[in-house]
C-alpha cells in the first residue's frame, strides 16, 4: 500500500517538476508577489508596532475557552485504554467489571464501535489531515504499542479513569519490526517528502570529495522526540442531529472537518470544528485518533463526549519526531570554498504515513558548492506514526550540516563565520533560482558585533572560570518560505465602518490574531479596534494550515485577494455620485477609513459614506489567494545567525548555556513583541534539542518509557539564559507584507551553535544528540 502511495507521490512530484520549470522562467510580473505588496511601502501604520496580544486579557483572566472547557448538557467523559504490545491481535476483551463500575455509561471497543473509514493521511489530498491512515478501533488488530483499544465513557473523568483500569484484554503478540538498526539492515528506501524524492545529485560529489585538498567526513545522530505542548490534546464532541460539532485544539480546522467527514461518510459541512485558542501546536495538534474516538463515542452513547488525553496519552497516540542518522562530508579548497557537499542518512517512518524527516532540505540552499549529493533513506517500523515537529528536517538537519561546517572551519584554521561567508551563494545552488531576498551576511555581521564574537578564541579549551570551561559557537539557521494552496478569506464592512475578517486560521499562542489585526487594519485603512479578526472555525473561508511557518503568508495573500474584491465591490456600490466615480480598482487604495485614488489621496470617500449612500447595511466579499507560484519562481528562505556561549563543568561535565543571540533575516517583522517571543521560543526548544530532549523508546517492545514532563526533559527556566534577538527587518519584495515565516526558524541552527560552543569550550566534538553530561566527562 505504501509503495503505491509513494509511486503516486513520485508522479505528482514529476508533474510539479514540469510545471515548476515553466513557472521558473516566467516573467516576475506573472507571479504572486511580482508586484510588491503595497503594505511594504507603508511605514507608519500598525504593522511593525509591538502591539500586545489582543487575547492577552482573556488568557490572563482565564476566560479564553480552550477545547476542554466548553460546557455541554449531559457530557460524558472518556478515558482511553492503550495497547501494551506493538503488533498482534486482540483475542479477548472483558469489559464486564468496567461496565459495572460506578458511573460508567459505555465501553467502546472494536466490537461495538461505529463503523467508519480510515483517516485520509496528511499530504494525500488537499484537505487530508490524518497522522496516519490506519483504521480507528475497527478491528482486532494492534499496530503499535500505545494504540487505543478501548474507550471508557462515564459520568465523571475520575469514574472513567478508574473503570479504564478494569478493562481486561488478552493479546496475541506477533513479532514486530521496531529496532532501527535491524530495520536498516533489512533495507531502506529513498524517502519522499511533499511528493518529491529526498535525493539530489549535482556533479560527481564523491570524486570532488576525494580530490578536495581539505575534507571532513562525520556521522551525526539525533534521537526521537515527542510533542509536549503545555495544553494537552483535548476535544469536546457532540452530534446535533446529523451534524458533528467538535471543539478541538487544532492547527488545521478545515482539513480536520473534511477528513472527519470522509471517515463518517457525511458532507464536510456537517462537521463543524472550532478551535479559538490552542495552548501550543508545534506540528502536534493535528488529526490523531482522539478526535475520531470522541466523535465515535458520542455517537455510540448519544451524548456529548469530552476526551482530554493524559500526558501519557499524548505520547501514546500523537506522533513525534523520528530519529535520524546522518553523514555530512565536506570537501573544500584551501581557501574554504566548497567543492563537495554530501549530506545523507536514514530516518524511520511507518507504512501508514507520508512523513519522512527531511533533514537535507536546508542543505539544498545553504551553501555554494560545486557538487552535491543529498539523500534521505527511510525504514518503516511498527510504531506510532511520526509527524511534523517544529522545523521537521531543518531542526536536526542543520545540527549535522552546521556542526560539519564548524569542523571544516577548524580543519582549515579559519573563522567559522568567515567560512560561511566564503560559501555564500549568489543564486540557489541546487535549483538555480534567484533568491527572493537573502541578507544572511547582514545577519551575521550584526550578530557577531552584538555578541562580541571577536572575543572568541579560535583554539578550544582556552577560557576557564573556576570549575567551568567557557566557549562560543555559532551556526546558520534557515527555514523555507512556504505558502500552501487553499487560502481564502472574507471581509465584511458594516455601514458603521467596522470590518470583520473571516478566515479558518489558527491562534496557537504565537500572536496570529494580533498581527493579522494589525495587517488588516493597515490594509483597510482602519484603526485596530475597527477590525475584528475571526478565525479558528471550520465554517469560515479558507483551508489554512498553521504549519510550515506559512500561516502568516497564507492569511496575508488571502486577505489581500479579498481586499481586491472589496475595492471592486465598493466601487460598484459607490456609483457616479462618489468622488471615486470612474476609477478602476487598481487605481484605488484603502486609506483613512475608506477608499482613495492611489496617487491622489484627497480624492477619498469613507466606507460609511459609500454604504450610507447606497443604503446598504454591509458589504461582504470573499476571495481566494492565488496559487503559490512564487515559491517555484524564486528561492525563498528565512535565515538566521545563531550565537551561543556555553559553560561546561570540568568536574561533572554538566553543559549550561550562559548566553544566546539569534540574529534573524525573516523579511519584515509584523509585530516585534510577538515575533521576539516566537524567536525565543524556537531557540529555547533548540536548547532542549541540543542538551536534553530524548524519547526513551524501548526497542524491545516499541514502548515509550518516559511519557511525562518529569522524565522527558525540556528546558526549565534555569536552563534558559537571557536570549537576545535581533533582525534585519528587510522586507522580502515578493511576499505578502514583505514578511516570511518566523515560527520555526528559531529551533534551526540552535543545536549546532550549542554543540560548536561546547567544542570551543572543551575541545570535545559531540555528534550525538542530546549532549548530556556523560558525553563530556
Amino acid at each position: 500500500m505504501s509503495i503505491l502511495k509513494d509511486a503516486k507521490d513520485l508522479l505528482q512530484g514529476a508533474v510539479q517538476g514540469a510545471m515548476g520549470k515553466a513557472v521558473a522562467i516566467a516573467p516576475d510580473s506573472w507571479m504572486p508577489g511580482g508586484e510588491p505588496d503595497p503594505l511594504i511601502a507603508m511605514r507608519h501604520g500598525h504593522v511593525g508596532r509591538p502591539h500586545s496580544r489582543i487575547d492577552g486579557p482573556l488568557k490572563v483572566s482565564g476566560s479564553a475557552p480552550f477545547a476542554a472547557e466548553f460546557p455541554m448538557e449531559g457530557m460524558a467523559y472518556a478515558s482511553l485504554v492503550f495497547s501494551p504490545i506493538a503488533k498482534g491481535r486482540i483475542l479477548e476483551i472483558d469489559t464486564t467489571s468496567a461496565e459495572a463500575a460506578p458511573g460508567v455509561l459505555a465501553v467502546m471497543t472494536y466490537v461495538n464501535a461505529p463503523r467508519i473509514s480510515p483517516p485520509p493521511v496528511f499530504l494525500s489530498g488537499a484537505k487530508a489531515a490524518g497522522g496516519d491512515d490506519l483504521p480507528v478501533m475497527q478491528e482486532d488488530v494492534v499496530r503499535w504499542n500505545g494504540e487505543p483499544v478501548a474507550v471508557v465513557l462515564a459520568e465523571t473523568q475520575e469514574q472513567a479513569d478508574h473503570a479504564r483500569s478494569l478493562v481486561h484484554i488478552v493479546y496475541e503478540a506477533r513479532r514486530a519490526l521496531i529496532d532501527f538498526a535491524e530495520a536498516k539492515a533489512a533495507g531502506s528506501r529513498t524517502a519522499v517528502f511533499m511528493g518529491e524524492p529526498l535525493h539530489l545529485e549535482i556533479g560527481d560529489a564523491d570524486k570532488a570529495l576525494a580530490d578536495a585538498p581539505v575534507r571532513i567526513d562525520s556521522s551525526y545522530s539525533t534521537p526521537r522526540h515527542n510533542h509536549n505542548a503545555i495544553e494537552l490534546h483535548a476535544v469536546t464532541a457532540a452530534w446535533e442531529g446529523d451534524t458533528l460539532r467538535i471543539h478541538d485544539a487544532s492547527q488545521l480546522v478545515a482539513h480536520t472537518a473534511w477528513s472527519i467527514a470522509q471517515m463518517f461518510g457525511i458532507d464536510e459541512k456537517q462537521v463543524v470544528i472550532t478551535s479559538p485558542f490552542v495552548g501550543g501546536g508545534f506540528g502536534g495538534k493535528c488529526l490523531w485518533q482522539h478526535q475520531v474516538l470522541a466523535s465515535m463515542a458520542a455517537k455510540l452513547a448519544g451524548r456529548p463526549v469530552r476526551l482530554v488525553l493524559s500526558r501519557e496519552g499524548v505520547y501514546r497516540i500523537v506522533g513525534g519526531r523520528s530519529p535520524t542518522e546522518q553523514r555530512v562530508a565536506l570537501g573544500a579548497d584551501r581557501e574554504g570554498r566548497l567543492k563537495a557537499l554530501v549530506h545523507s542518512g536514514t530516518t524511520a517512518k511507518t507504512a501508514s504515513n507520508m512523513m519522512a524527516e527531511p533533514f537535507i532540505v536546508a542543505t539544498k540552499s545553504a551553501y555554494a558548492s560545486e557538487t552535491f549529493k543529498l539523500d534521505v533513506r527511510a525504514v518503516e517500523l511498527d510504531m506510532l506514526a511520526n509527524t511534523f515537529m517544529r522545523a521537521p528536517g531543518e531542526a536536526v538537519g542543520t545540527f549535522a550540516l552546521e556542526s560539519a561546517m564548524d569542523e571544516l572551519a577548524e580543519a582549515l584554521g579559519i573563522d567559522p563565520i568567515e567560512l560561511r561567508m566564503r560559501n555564500e551563494p549568489e543564486k540557489d545552488p541546487t535549483s538555480g533560482l534567484p533568491f527572493s531576498s537573502r541578507n544572511v551576511t547582514e545577519a551575521w555581521r550584526a550578530g557577531a558585533q552584538r555578541f562580541g564574537w571577536d572575543r572568541r578564541d579560535l583554539v578550544p579549551r582556552m577560557v576557564r572560570d573556576g570549575e567551568w570551561l567557557v566557549g562560543m559557537g555559532c551556526a546558520t539557521g534557515t527555514y523555507p518560505y512556504y505558502r500552501m494552496p487553499g487560502g481564502a478569506a472574507r471581509i465584511t464592512i458594516t455601514s458603521g465602518g467596522h470590518a470583520t475578517v473571516d478566515i479558518a486560521a489558527h491562534e496557537m499562542g504565537m500572536g496570529t490574531a494580533t498581527a493579522q489585526t494589525q495587517v488588516a487594519a493597515d490594509r483597510l485603512g482602519l484603526a485596530m479596534d475597527e477590525v475584528t479578526f475571526r478565525y479558528g472555525d471550520s465554517t469560515l473561508p479558507g483551508v489554512v494550515l498553521a504549519g510550515g511557518s506559512q500561516q502568516t503568508a497564507s492569511i496575508g495573500a488571502a486577505v489581500s485577494a479579498a481586499h481586491g474584491a472589496l475595492v471592486k465591490e465598493l466601487l460598484k456600490i459607490a456609483g457616479n455620485d462618489s468622488p471615486l466615480a470612474g476609477l478602476k480598482p487598481d487605481e484605488v487604495a484603502s486609506r483613512d477609513g475608506g477608499l482613495c485614488k492611489r496617487d491622489e489621496p484627497e480624492r477619498h470617500e469613507t466606507y460609511v459614506s459609500i454604504l450610507g449612500r447606497a443604503r446598504q447595511a454591509s458589504v461582504s466579499v470573499e476571495a481566494e489567494a492565488p496559487m503559490p507560484l512564487e515559491t517555484q519562481h524564486w528561492s525563498m528562505h528565512s535565515h538566521a545567525a545563531m550565537f551561543c556561549e556555553v559553560r561546561v563543568n570540568t568536574v561533572t561535565g554538566e553543559p549550561r548555556v550562559s548566553r544566546f543571540l539569534g540574529s534573524f533575516d525573516c523579511g519584515r517583522i509584523l509585530n516585534p513583541k510577538t515575533a521576539t517571543s516566537q524567536f525565543r521560543g524556537g531557540i529555547i526548544m533548540g536548547l532542549g534539542l541540543a542538551l536534553m530532549e530524548e524519547t526513551q523508546f524501548d526497542e524491545r517492545k516499541g514502548r515509550v518509557m518516559n511519557p511525562s514532563l518529569s522524565e522527558y526533559h525540556v528546558p526549565v527556566h534555569m536552563d534558559v539564559p537571557e536570549i537576545d534577538v535581533i533582525w534585519t527587518d528587510i522586507p522580502d519584495p515578493h511576499t505578502p507584507m514583505g514578511a516570511r515565516g518566523i515560527g520555526e526558524i528559531g529551533i534551526t541552527g540552535t543545536a549546532a551553535a550549542v554543540a560548536n560552543a561546547i567544542y570551543n569550550a572543551t575541545g570535545r566534538r559531540v555528534r550525538d544528540l542530546p549532549i548530556t553530561l556523560d558525553k563530556l566527562l
Binding site: 504499542n145 483500569s165 554538566e654 524491545r700 518516559n706 522524565e711 526549565v716 553530561l773
Partner: protein
C-alpha cells in the same frame, strides 16, 4: 485511580488505630503517593491523612533538632537553624522537585517516596519486581541510565529518588517511629533496604508503623556541610549522582567526616568506606580521590550507567575539596 476511603488522623495514636487494615496508607503531601495511585501502581483501600500531625521543628536541649514528620519541605529548608547548622540539609531539599512540590511535600513523605524507575511506573506495559514480586525486571536490559551502581540485585536496579534523605543520612539523622507495638528509632541511613530478592519492600517500616519525627543530633562540624547534585538539567530532575558531606579538619588532619551518596543505590548510600579511609588523614585531593575509589570499588555498572562511577568519584572528590577549602 482506584476508589479509596479517606480520613484525617487527629493524633499519632488515632493514625495508628486507623491504619489497622494493611491496605491503608498514610498520606502526607501526596506529591508521590497520589501520582502512583493515578498510575494504579499504588491501590490503597484507605488513606489516613497525617499531614496535619507533628508540624513543629523543636530545638533540643542537647543542641539537636527534632523535626516533625509533617513539616513541609519548604519550611524545613528555610528554617534558620537548618540553614546555619545543617546547610547540607537545606541545600539538598532545595535541590529537589519544584517550589510548588516542596510546599506540599512532608518530611516523612519525602523519606518514603518511591523510585522513579520508568518500568516501576508503567503498570500497563512493563515488568517490575518492585511492583509485582517475581514478575521480572525490564530495567536490567532496558533504560537504566539513572539506575544503581551500588548494592543492586538481579531483582532490582532502581535507585531511591530523595535528595533530603541523602543529607539526613550524612548528618546522622535518626528516624522516630510509632507503631502498634510501641515506639522505636534508628538511623535514617538504616531506614531503607537494599533490594535483595524483595525489592517490593523499600524500608524497615512494619505495616502500620508511622514516622513521627526526624532527629538531628548536635553535630557542630555540620555547619561546614554541603550537598551537590549532578543532573541533566538545572532544576526539576532527579540526581544522576549527588553527594552530601561534612568535614571536620583540625591541625591539618581530618578529625571526622560524613559522606552520603544519592542516585547510586536503592537507598541513600552512606559512604562508610570512604569515611574510614579519610579519618585521621590529610585533607588533600589525592586522599579524597582515594576515598572515593575505596567506596566505589564494589560499584557495578549496567549497560547505560557506567559513567556514574567516574561521575561519583569526581563529585565526591570535588565536594570534599570544597569543604576543605581547596579548589577542585
Amino acid at each position: 485511580m482506584t476508589p479509596f476511603r479517606y480520613s484525617r488522623a487527629t493524633d499519632v495514636a488515632d493514625a495508628i488505630r486507623q491504619s489497622g487494615d494493611c491496605n491503608t496508607r498514610y498520606l502526607g503531601g501526596g506529591t508521590n503517593l497520589v501520582d502512583l495511585m493515578r498510575e494504579t501502581v499504588e491501590r490503597p483501600e484507605a488513606l489516613v491523612d497525617v499531614s496535619g500531625l507533628s508540624r513543629d521543628i523543636e530545638e533540643l536541649p542537647d543542641g539537636g533538632l527534632l523535626i516533625g514528620a509533617g513539616v513541609r519541605n519548604t519550611a524545613l529548608a528555610e528554617h534558620r537553624s537548618v540553614r546555619t547548622r545543617y546547610p547540607a540539609l537545606s541545600r539538598a531539599i532545595l535541590a529537589g522537585a519544584s517550589a510548588q512540590i516542596r510546599n506540599m511535600a512532608t518530611v516523612g513523605g519525602n523519606l518514603l517516596q518511591r523510585t522513579r524507575c520508568a518500568y516501576f511506573y508503567d503498570d500497563d506495559g512493563s515488568r517490575c519486581n518492585k511492583r509485582l514480586p517475581g514478575q521480572g525486571c525490564d530495567a536490567l536490559e532496558g533504560f537504566n541510565r539513572n539506575h544503581a551502581i551500588l548494592g543492586a540485585s538481579p531483582s532490582c536496579v532502581a535507585v531511591h529518588p530523595s535528595d533530603m534523605a541523602v543529607a539526613l543520612a550524612a548528618l546522622d539523622g535518626v528516624v522516630h517511629l510509632h507503631g502498634a507495638r510501641g515506639e522505636r528509632s534508628f538511623p535514617v541511613a538504616d531506614l531503607h533496604r537494599l533490594p535483595g530478592d524483595r525489592p517490593d519492600v523499600d524500608t524497615l517500616l512494619e505495616p502500620g508503623e508511622l514516622i513521627t519525627a526526624i532527629e538531628l543530633p548536635p553535630l557542630p562540624f555540620a555547619a561546614r556541610s554541603t550537598y551537590r547534585k549532578v543532573r541533566d538539567r538545572s532544576s526539576y530532575a532527579f540526581a544522576l549522582v549527588s553527594v552530601a558531606a561534612l568535614l571536620d579538619v583540625e591541625d591539618g588532619r581530618i578529625r571526622d567526616v560524613r559522606i552520603a551518596l544519592g542516585g547510586v543505590a536503592h537507598k541513600p548510600w552512606r559512604a562508610f568506606k570512604a569515611e574510614e579511609v579519610l579519618r585521621g588523614g590529610p585533607p588533600r585531593a589525592a586522599a579524597f580521590t582515594a576515598a572515593a575509589d575505596a567506596e566505589l570499588a564494589d560499584a557495578k555498572p549496567l549497560a547505560g550507567n557506567g559513567f556514574k562511577i567516574e561521575l561519583a568519584r569526581r563529585t565526591i572528590a570535588a565536594v570534599l575539596g570544597e569543604l576543605a577549602g581547596e579548589t577542585a
